[in-house]
Amino acid sequence: MGEQAPAIELKGISKAFGPVQANKDISIRVMPGTIHGIIGENGAGKSTLMSILYGFYKADKGEIFISGQKTEIPDSQAAIAAGIGMVFQHFKLVENFTVLENIILGAEDGGLLTPSLAKARKTLLELEHEYGLNVDPDAVIEELGVGMQQRVEILKALYRQADILILDEPTGVLTPAEADQLFRILDRLREEGKTIILITHKLREIMEATDTVSVMRRGEMTATVKTADTSPAELAELMVGRKVLLRVDKTSAQPGDVVLDIKDLRVVDDKGVERIKGIDLQVRAGEIVGIAGVAGNGQSELLEVLGGYADATGEVRVNGQPLELSGKRSDGRARRARGIAHVPEDRQREGLIMDFSAWENTAFGYHRDPDYQSGVLLNNTAIRADTEEKMGRFDVRPPNPALAAKNFSGGNQQKIVLAREIERNPDLLLVGQPTRGVDIGAIEFIHQQIVALRDKGKAVLLVSVELEEILALSDRVAVMFDGHIMGERLSAETDEKELGLLMAGVNA
C-alpha cells in the first residue's frame, strides 16, 4: 500500500471517567482498504476508543487524523461528515419502518418525504448492486432476520457515504453461517476500497477476517501486529498479560444414571407464542450437555422452566421424580430443594442484586435455608462467614463480603454466583452463558469449576451462544432452533460447521 496516508490515525488518545483511566495514550494507524481488528477483554477500552472516534465522547488528550487531515470530531454528525460509519452491536433501527425508511432516517433531503424516498431508493439499489448486499427496500425491519438487519445497518452507513466502517461485536447475534456471510461482505467492501475496523473479543474472528490486529488491555494498546504473523495463543496472552489455556483440560465423561429427563416439553410465553415446541432431552450424572443455538431459539425458556420461573407443559423428571411445571410448587425455592442449582444467563438482572453486598448475594435464593436463619431473623454473621469462605475458594477479588456486587468486575460477579450455586453441591447444575462478559483469565477458572462438578458425578446442562465454549466444555451437544432440538451430537464427533448448519435449522 506504499506511502499512502492512513485512513485513520489516532495519536496519544487518553480518556478518563472519574478515577478510571479508560484509554491511556493510545496511538493507532489504520491503513485504507484494510480490515483492522481491535481485540481486548470487556472493559479494555475498545468501546470507549470507538466512541471517541464516533464523537460520543471527547478525548481528554490526543489527536485524530482522517486520511492525513487533523480532524475534530465533537459529535456523530461530524463523524459522519468525516466519512465514518458505525454499526452498533445493538441495532439502531425503527422496527416497524421499512428498510428504505430506516435508511433515510436522519438523512432525508427536503421537507417532503416522497421525492427523497424515490431518490433514496435509486441510491440504495445502486449501493446494493455495487456491494452485493441484497435487501428488499420495502421489507419491514421486524420481519427481517438479524443478519439482514445488520446488512441494513451497513447500508445505512454506506448511504451516508462512509469510507470507514466501524463494526462493534458484529457477530454476537449471528449464527456461524451468518457470520461467514458477514465476513464475505466485509471482504467485498474492502475490495471496493473501504476501510473497516472490527471490534471483537473473539480470537477466531480476528484470525479469519482481519489484515492487521491491535490488542488492548486495561486501557492501553499493547500491540499491533499483522494477523498473518500471529497466533490465537499469542493474542490471548497479549490480551490477558499472561499465558492462557485456550482449551479446556478434561478427561472423557463417565456418564451415569439419568438425572434430568425431559419429555415433550412445551412452553408458551405471555404473548401466547410457543417458544419450546415439544423437546426431549436427557442429562446423565457425570456429563455436561451443551445446548447450542442462536440466542432466542428457546434456550432461555428451557433454563427458566427448569430454574422454576416459567410455566410449561410436558414431563420433566429429576432423579426419577417428576418436577412440577406450573403453580406454587414450581418456584425457584422448590427447585433448589430438589437439588437443582442455576447460574442464570443474565447475572446482572437475575443472578445478583447489583446493589446488595456480596454476602447478601451469597444468600440469594438460599435466604430461607436453615443454615442462614436464627429464629425469625437472618443469621447475618453466618452468611458473612460463609461468603468469606466461598470468596476464598473461588478466588473472588477483592475478597470483601461487604462490597456491593456492582463494584466487582464481570468475572468476579460470575464467580460469586458460581460459588453460591456450585458449593451447594447440586445434583443438576443449570448454567447459562457462564462466561459472557467475563475476562479470559476468569473464563479458564469458571470452566475448570464446571468440569470439576461434572467429575464429581453431577449433571450439568450448559446453555451458551458461544459455539467454541459449547464444544470445549460439553460432552454432548444438542442444538436448538425455533423451539425444537434439531439434533444431538457427541462433541468429540462434531465440529462447528455441522453444528452451525443445525443452528440455522438445516438438518443434515
Binding site: 472519574g18 478515577p19 478510571v20 430454574g307 422454576g308 420461573y309 406454587k328 418456584d331 425457584g332 425455592r333 422448590a334 427447585r335 433448589r336 442455576h342 442464570p344 443474565d346 438482572r349 437475575e350 443472578g351 445478583l352 442484586i353 447489583m354 446493589d355 446488595f356 447478601e360 444468600a363 440469594f364 435464593g365 435466604h367 430461607r368 442462614y372 436463619q373 425469625v376 431473623l377 437472618l378 447475618n380 463494584n407
Partner: protein, 364 residues
C-alpha cells in the same frame, strides 16, 4: 468504587439541600418585605423553644413517622404507595369503631385494640390496590391515588349518615369514652419530675412510632421477609430467579405499608381529637412521601426527616400566628424543602461527588 464516603452521602447531601432550601425561603420572605432572621427565630422558638412547642412538633412528627415508614416499606419493594392519606383516613375509622363500640376497661387495652383496628383498616385499604397491581398489573400509583378519593368519600358518608350523633350538626363521631383517652407526654413525664406542657397534643403514640421505626428496621434488614422485599424492589427478574413470589411480596409489602399508615390514626384520632372528624389526616399521608424521600427510606432517616417536618409544621403555624407572613408561604417553604431534599437530590449530589473525586485524586 463509591463516588463518595457513606457518611457524606447520608449527612452532607441532605444538609446542603436543606441549607439551599432555607436560603431560597429566606429570599422569598425578604421579597414580601419581612425579616427572614426574625422569621427563623420565631419558628425555632415556636417549635422548639418550649415544651408546648415540642409537644406540637413531636405530635406532627409522630404522624409523619407512621406515614413516612409506610411509604418507605413500599419503596423497598419498588412500590410507590401514594395512598397513605386514604389508608390513614380508614385507619381513623377503625380507631373510631374500636373506641366507640367496645367498652374498654383501661387505656392500655384500648390502645392495643384501637391500634389493631387502625392497622387492619389501613392494610385493608391498601390491599385492593395491591391486589390489582399484583394480579392485574394496574399501576399502584394510579390506584392508590384513586383510593385516597374513594376513602375520603367513604368517610364522608359514614360520618354524615352513620356515625354522627343524633342532633349534631358536625360531621364527626361522638367523643370517645374516658377510658380510651391516651396519656399525653405531660402525663408520662410528670412522674419523672419533668413538667411537660399540659396542652400540647403529643402523646404516648410517639413512643409507639419510635418502636415502629425499630421494628421496620428489623423487618427490612434482619428478617428473610425484609430481604425478599428488598430483593424484589431492586430486581423483579432477580426475585423470580430466587424463588420469591412477586404477587406475595407485593401484597405483603403493601399490607405492611397500609397498616403503618393506618396506625397514624391512634395519634391524631385517638390521642389528639378523641373523636373522628372529617379530614383528620390533614395531608400527613402526602408529607409521608417527602419524609420517606428525604430519609432515603431508612427508618432512622425517616425519624430525622419526620422531626424536621414536624418542626416546619409547628414553626410554620407559629409564623402565621405572629407575623403577617401568610399561611400559604409556610406551604411554600415546606415545598422548597421537599423540592430540594427529594426531587433535586442529584443537583447537590453531583457536584459533591466531583468534589470528593478531586480530593481523592489530589491525595493520590
Amino acid at each position: 468504587m463509591d463516588m463518595m464516603p457513606k457518611w457524606a452521602e447520608v449527612t452532607l447531601v441532605p444538609l446542603i439541600s436543606l441549607v439551599l432550601a432555607a436560603i431560597l425561603s429566606a429570599l422569598v420572605i425578604l421579597a414580601i418585605g419581612e425579616d427572614p432572621v426574625e422569621a427563623v427565630n420565631l419558628m425555632v422558638t415556636g417549635a422548639l423553644g418550649s415544651t408546648y412547642g415540642w409537644g406540637y412538633t413531636l405530635y406532627y412528627a409522630t404522624n409523619f413517622l407512621f406515614t413516612g415508614l409506610a411509604v418507605s416499606v413500599a419503596f423497598h419493594a419498588g412500590l410507590f404507595n401514594i395512598g397513605g392519606e386514604g389508608q390513614a383516613m380508614l385507619g381513623g375509622l377503625g380507631v373510631a369503631l374500636a373506641c366507640l363500640l367496645i367498652p374498654w376497661p383501661h387505656w392500655t387495652l384500648a390502645l392495643l385494640g384501637a391500634a389493631g383496628a387502625a392497622a387492619l383498616f389501613g392494610a385493608a385499604w391498601a390491599a385492593i390496590p395491591a391486589f390489582l397491581q399484583a394480579k392485574r398489573g394496574s399501576h399502584i400509583v394510579i390506584t392508590t391515588i384513586m383510593f385516597n378519593f374513594i376513602g375520603a368519600a367513604v368517610l364522608n358518608y359514614v360520618l354524615v349518615n352513620l356515625m354522627r350523633p343524633p342532633g349534631s350538626m358536625d360531621p364527626a363521631t361522638a367523643r370517645f369514652p374516658e377510658a380510651t383517652h391516651l396519656p399525653t407526654l405531660h402525663d408520662i413525664l410528670l412522674p419523672l419530675g419533668i413538667n411537660f406542657s399540659k396542652s400540647a397534643p403529643a402523646n404516648v403514640t410517639f413512643l409507639i412510632a419510635l418502636l415502629a421505626c425499630v421494628l421496620v428496621w428489623f423487618l427490612l434488614w434482619r428478617t428473610w421477609l425484609g430481604y425478599e422485599i428488598r430483593s424484589y424492589g431492586k430486581s423483579e427478574p432477580g426475585a423470580k430467579y430466587a424463588g420469591i413470589s412477586p404477587v406475595a411480596i407485593t401484597m405483603i409489602a403493601m399490607l405492611i405499608s397500609g397498616a403503618l399508615a393506618g396506625l397514624m390514626a391512634i395519634n391524631n384520632v385517638m390521642g389528639e381529637a378523641e373523636r373522628l372528624v372529617l379530614n383528620a389526616v390533614e395531608g400527613a399521608g402526602f408529607i409521608g412521601i417527602a419524609v420517606a424521600l428525604m430519609g432515603r427510606s431508612h427508618p432512622f432517616g425517616v425519624l430525622l426527616a419526620a422531626i424536621l417536618f414536624g418542626f416546619l409544621y409547628q414553626g410554620g403555624a407559629e409564623l402565621a400566628l405572629w407575623t403577617s407572613i401568610p399561611r400559604e408561604l409556610i406551604v411554600v417553604i415546606q415545598a422548597l424543602v421537599i423540592l430540594f431534599t427529594g426531587a433535586l437530590d442529584n443537583m447537590v449530589r453531583m457536584p459533591l461527588e466531583r468534589l470528593f473525586l478531586m480530593l481523592r485524586r489530589g491525595r493520590a
